[in-house]
């Protein structure tokens, strides 16, 4: 089990192309599905972590994204 880098904002800021807060829609912040995946890969602590891309469809705002990333970062190592 590993813990994630905590600073989600810093990670998100690297990919966002516009200013944002938690209520900003992802598209307005310039984040598309590919950048979301890249973020997930960066944030996830372990190579074995699985990304459930089917859940990305429900992410609408930066707040949603943070919750998802936090969950993934804290997720136990997948039993591969």
């Amino acid at each position: 089990m590993t813990t994630a880098p905590v600073d989600l904002d810093a990670a998100i800021a690297k990919h966002a192309t516009a200013a944002y807060d938690d209520s900003t829609p992802l598209l307005d912040a310039g984040l598309e599905s590919l950048s979301l995946l890249r973020l997930a890969v960066e944030v996830a602590g372990d190579d074995d972590t699985e990304i459930d891309a089917t859940r990305m469809v429900d992410l609408r705002t930066i707040g949603d994204l943070k919750a998802w990333l936090a969950e993934m970062a804290g997720q136990p190592v997948a039993d591969a």
Partner: protein
């Protein structure tokens, strides 16, 4: 605890395949040009890098990217294995040193060479490198060519990153074990997801949503190939700054990604061009699951269908922001479902080299973004001039905007049609981003309307005001020429007109007035023609009443037409008076109403007394449509169209005094007008059938030969029996000049053509036209035409006819786009008699011309880039079998070419996935031979599952093939076949093969002649089964050969043949 193979990554371990790999291997097994799945990556390097550094880095790259080291095997089931990392010596690398001036050309040449050679995926490797250096040290590049099955679009990133690290000496083979582990983990994660119950349920639900989507056929035409060699071409559009800005604003306003917007617009374009309202747009979605996989090269992408439903009346904003966004979200939420699962659930055919489920793709392309100071200067992916889909749209970010590229299969889509697609895409996207409140239909515009005006070039000069005047004028120059000829009877022009005048006098005396409808039920051709002209002389409208029709139908027609008088035989209709067709003779010159009646000379226009020369404003005839659905409708045809038709036909069919036109058509069929009236207007002779039955072809052939007929006009279904009867009788027709046909789609084959080769002076004319107009288009064929298209076009419109192809959006269709044929200009009838509602629905104001009317046929046609029209069917006759649109006539044509087949008709029975094809044969052909011929010539989904012999093909009253009756018969016969006896095999080989299949398919028993596809064989298990056949019987049966006839009996035949060949 771990139970899978994640930790066991030793070389040679059996690895599972991703679903996408399985799908691709299937297609790869099919294509004859195996290199089409070769992908190229050109990496421009810092030229100062030493060659050894580069070669070492490539060696390390392959070592740490296990995906590249995969090879693929079929037994005991399809799987992959890893080969050991290469050494510097074994690395497949081709080096080229080139003078600086030729560097770019050397790179292209090497890329073409590397990309042009197929890989052997069984032995590997599935990749190869090229290394090009300019000899002056000014440039260097590495070219990687790898089979698609080992890498997807996302793989470019990891490969480039690894290469960069390896070149810097920061990547070593220490990573190999970790990467192999990560690779296997990803494979396992994907397989676990694909087989999870939740995924299986999601796949089932998704398949249900896709079941009713029609096949998308771009640029439909009858000779569209079923398979292609993937030759591609591209057209592209770089969006302007303004376009890009509007696009950005639209995406922001609707909260959608450019992908959603492109899908929405592309989907609408495909729907327009395919003539449908639902399309599936294939698009790659990443299926990578583990974080570690983002460092790996591999085929981890899942290409899924986005269903785009197009409601043309919706606003663009709704279409993009709600409908298509919802459809894309659905895919994203179900990305665990695999393409293979959907294909299997929908029972889509996988036996040809076309992609199942969708034929059009949309791919968002990645672009390389370099970093300053890197040894990698640029990365690009050269194309290899292939088109893996019918149509592919690539959207590539370019300088902050977009480059859109359409890649099309050149065998399926002509360049002019591809230009039309790009035009539609450009117009639609521009309109979508400028005004979201317009409708989806309004994303498009009319194609050039000049195309709609094009005709065959034959003039239509009308010399008289009425048909009667015209024939009178003609008669004046040759009063004693034969007008009508039948056995034992005949009329000169003088006789015909004077008889008609006498009868007309009688009719006027009975109260017939202009515009009245008078029934016509005379028995002989002489009487019929006399009565027809008598009625016309009164300025009345003749209504043919065929005595063979049911009494109820006749009563309905007479009532609807308010017909109070019938000339000819007594039909027993209540309230209707009958007048004999025989003129009231002998009579006194002055006694009857018509003083001109016995003048002995054809009277001039506007004859004396109550017998005028017809009335130009009055409609000459009223004919009832056969009424395939609902009640028949009475079509009132005016003088204008008929005068134009007559004038055009005389020129087009070379009619004159020598013309001898056989009167074959039933009088209630508008073809009879074309046989009789233009012939008389031209001064020719109408020749009666006499007592010969319409279906007695030997007698008909004799009559045509004996009477030296020059023109015949047959229903399409009668052409083949006629040609065969002529051949059987060894009849020659030195006088025959034109064989006209109409009524249904004309299919021709060498047997029909041979008649015209034997009669090179004779032209075959295919005519098309609904009762609501008249014949409006034609296509001519003669022996001099070297190729005869099996499915004959309906051709070009005749003089005065405007033919609009109106597509789904309500606009004039560009070439290659199917649409509903609307007929304007001179041809539309006046309407349906006494039925203003139906008239208003069928006959519309001609909005394209801004004046006049047009008739909406409901017939689906397509105009090619040369202006030639082809009939595609009616909305309800399109047959879909296992995901493909099938043209039944094409099957008939192939079957007709087999010795012993006199006539073949295919029908489709059953619904949905159970829909199957049944072939009916007239003649004494060997069914096995027919089956073999069909299997050789057609894709397997087009080979009928059952063949039955019949005595003769049933036809309707107007001589058309009665498909409904055959479908009913097929249903009855199929039920009989299914309830018969135990399975029997010809020999032990068949028995062995059947047992093998039972095991592979997990079924109880298979019939030797029944398609294994029906038992559940599909491309994936076929590989395994054929590998077992090879183990057991020592011969490798090619997959493609097996699928030609996928039965145990045919497979046994292949095994025997291959054994014999080996034995030689």
């Amino acid at each position: 605890m771990s139970t899978d193979t994640a930790t066991d990554t030793g070389i040679g371990t059996l690895l599972p395949l991703t679903e996408s790999q399985k799908g691709l291997l299937v297609v790869d097994g099919w294509v004859t040009t195996a290199q089409i799945y070769n992908q190229l990556m050109h990496v421009e390097l810092d030229p100062s890098l030493p060659a050894d550094t580069v070669v070492d880095a490539l060696t390390v790259l392959v070592a740490v990217q296990p995906g590249l080291r995969q090879v693929f095997l079929s037994l005991p089931e399809m799987h992959a294995r890893l080969t050991p990392p290469p050494t510097r010596e074994t690395l497949p690398l081709e080096r080229v040193d080139s003078p600086a001036a030729g560097y770019a050309a050397a790179c292209s040449a090497l890329a073409a060479k590397l990309g042009g050679e197929p890989f052997d995926l069984h032995t590997g490797p599935a990749y190869r490198f090229g290394y090009v250096r300019a000899t002056d040290g000014s440039a260097a590049a590495v070219i990687l060519c790898a089979h698609h099955v080992v890498g997807d679009g996302v793989s470019m990133g990891p490969l480039v990153r690894d290469l960069e690290a390896a070149l810097a000496g920061k990547l070593t083979t220490e990573l190999v074990a970790a990467r192999e582990t990560a690779f296997v983990r990803e494979l396992n994660a994907q397989n676990r997801t694909a087989t999870a119950q939740s995924t299986v349920d999601a796949a089932r639900a998704w398949a249900d949503r896709l079941r009713d989507v029609p096949p998308l056929v771009l640029s439909p035409r009858p000779d569209r190939p079923h398979e292609t060699d993937f030759t591609g071409a591209r057209v592209s559009w770089l969006l302007s700054e303004q376009d890009n800005e509007l696009l950005r604003q639209t995406c922001k306003r609707l909260s959608v990604t450019p992908f959603v917007l492109f899908t929405a617009v592309y989907g609408a374009v495909l729907a327009r061009h395919g003539g449908v309202t639902s399309v599936l747009v294939g698009s790659p979605f990443t299926a990578r699951r583990t974080v570690g996989s983002y460092d790996l090269c591999g085929f981890f992408v899942n290409t899924l269908p986005v269903r785009v439903d197009v409601d043309w009346s919706r606003t663009v904003d709704e279409h993009v922001g709600e409908v298509v966004r919802g459809a894309v979200d659905h895919c994203r939420a179900n990305v665990g479902v695999t393409f293979n699962q959907l294909v299997a659930l929908l029972r889509q055919d996988r036996t040809s080299n076309r992609n199942p489920l969708f034929s059009a793709m949309l791919a968002m392309q990645d672009t390389f973004e370099g970093t300053p100071g890197s040894t990698i200067l640029d990365v690009r992916e050269p194309g290899n001039d292939t088109a893996k889909f019918d149509l592919w749209l690539g959207a590539t970010p370019r300088d902050g905007g977009w480059l859109l590229e359409l890649e099309y299969d050149r065998q399926l889509i002509a360049p002019a049609v591809a230009d039309g697609l790009l035009d539609s895409l450009r117009t639609a996207l521009r309109r979508a981003v400028t005004d979201g409140t317009r409708t989806v239909a309004d994303l498009f515009t009319d194609s050039s309307w000049v195309d709609s005006l094009r005709t065959d070039g034959y003039p239509g000069r009308v010399p008289a005001e009425t048909l009667v005047d015209w024939v009178r004028d003609t008669a004046r120059t040759s009063p004693d020429a034969p007008a009508i000829e039948e056995p034992g009877a005949g009329l000169t022009y003088r006789e015909l007109l004077s008889n008609a005048e006498a009868l007309a006098g009688e009719l006027v005396g009975r109260g017939v007035r202009p515009h009245d409808v008078v029934g016509l039920a005379a028995e002989t051709l002489c009487d019929t023609t006399t009565a027809m002209f008598a009625i016309l002389m009164c300025g009345a409208t003749f209504l043919p009443l065929d005595p063979t029709l049911p009494a109820d139908r006749l009563k309905y027609m007479a009532d609807k037409a308010e017909c109070r008088l019938v000339v000819g035989r007594d039909m027993g209709l209540a309230g209707v008076t009958t007048v004999p067709a025989i003129p009231p003779a002998p009579r006194d010159a002055d006694s009857a109403a018509g003083g001109a009646a016995t003048s002995g000379e054809p009277a001039g226009g506007g004859a004396a007394g109550g017998v005028p020369g017809g009335v130009a404003e009055a409609a000459p005839y009223l004919m009832f449509t056969s009424g395939s659905s609902g009640l028949p409708k009475g079509v009132l045809m005016g003088h204008g169209p008929l005068l134009n038709l007559t004038a055009w036909q005389i020129g087009f069919l070379g009619q004159g005094r020598q013309t001898r036109f056989l009167q074959y058509a039933p009088l209630g069929f508008d073809v009879s007008f074309q046989e009789i009236v233009p012939t008389l207007a031209a001064g020719g002779t109408v020749v009666g059938r006499g007592g010969v039955d319409r279906r007695d072809f030997p007698a008909l052939v004799k009559r045509i030969a004996d009477t030296e007929v020059t023109h015949i006009y047959l229903p399409v279904a009668a052409l083949r029996p006629y040609v065969q009867a002529a051949k059987d009788a060894r009849a020659k027709f030195p006088h025959l000049r034109y064989v006209c046909v109409s009524g249904e789609q004309l299919m021709v084959d060498p047997e029909i053509r041979s008649f015209f080769v034997d009669h090179p002076h004779c032209t075959l004319v295919n005519l098309y036209g609904p009762t609501e107009t008249h014949a409006v288009t034609t296509h001519r064929l003669t022996a001099a035409d070297e190729t005869w298209p099996a499915h004959v076009p309906i051709g070009l419109p005749l003089h005065g006819v405007t033919a609009y192809v109106v597509d789904q959006t309500g606009h004039l269709a560009p070439p290659g786009v199917p649409g509903d044929l609307h007929l304007g200009g001179l041809c539309p009838a006046e309407g349906y008699l006494n039925d203003p509602d139906k008239t208003a629905k069928g006959f519309l104001p001609d909005r394209f011309a801004g004046e006049g009317r047009m008739y909406r046929t409901g017939d689906l046609v397509v105009r090619d880039e040369h202006g030639v029209l082809t009939f595609l069917g009616r909305g309800d006759t399109q047959v879909k079998i296992r995901g493909y649109r099938v043209e039944l006539g094409e099957i008939d044509t192939v079957a007709n070419s087999v010795a012993g087949v006199r006539q073949a008709v295919t029908v489709a029975v059953g619904t949905g996935a159970d829909r199957e094809l049944v072939l009916f044969l007239v003649g004494d052909a060997d069914h096995r031979e027919v089956r073999d011929r069909l299997a050789t010539a057609l894709p397997s989904y087009m080979v009928p599952t059952r063949i039955h012999d019949i005595e003769k093909v049933p036809t309707s009253g107007t001589g058309k093939t009665d498909h409904a009756a055959l479908a009913e018969l097929a249903g009855r016969l199929n039920r009989t076949v299914e309830s018969t006896g135990p399975v029997e095999y010809a020999d032990d080989l068949e028995r062995d093969l059947a047992a093998l299949w039972c095991e592979v398919l997990d079924v109880e028993g298979v019939e030797p002649e029944r398609s294994l596809l029906e038992y559940g064989a599909h491309s994936l298990n076929v590989f395994t089964a054929l590998a077992r056949v090879e183990e057991d019987h020592g011969v490798a049966v090619p997959v493609a050969d097996f699928f030609r006839v996928p039965t145990v009996s045919a497979l046994a035949g292949l095994v025997r043949r291959l054994r014999e060949e080996d034995g030689r």
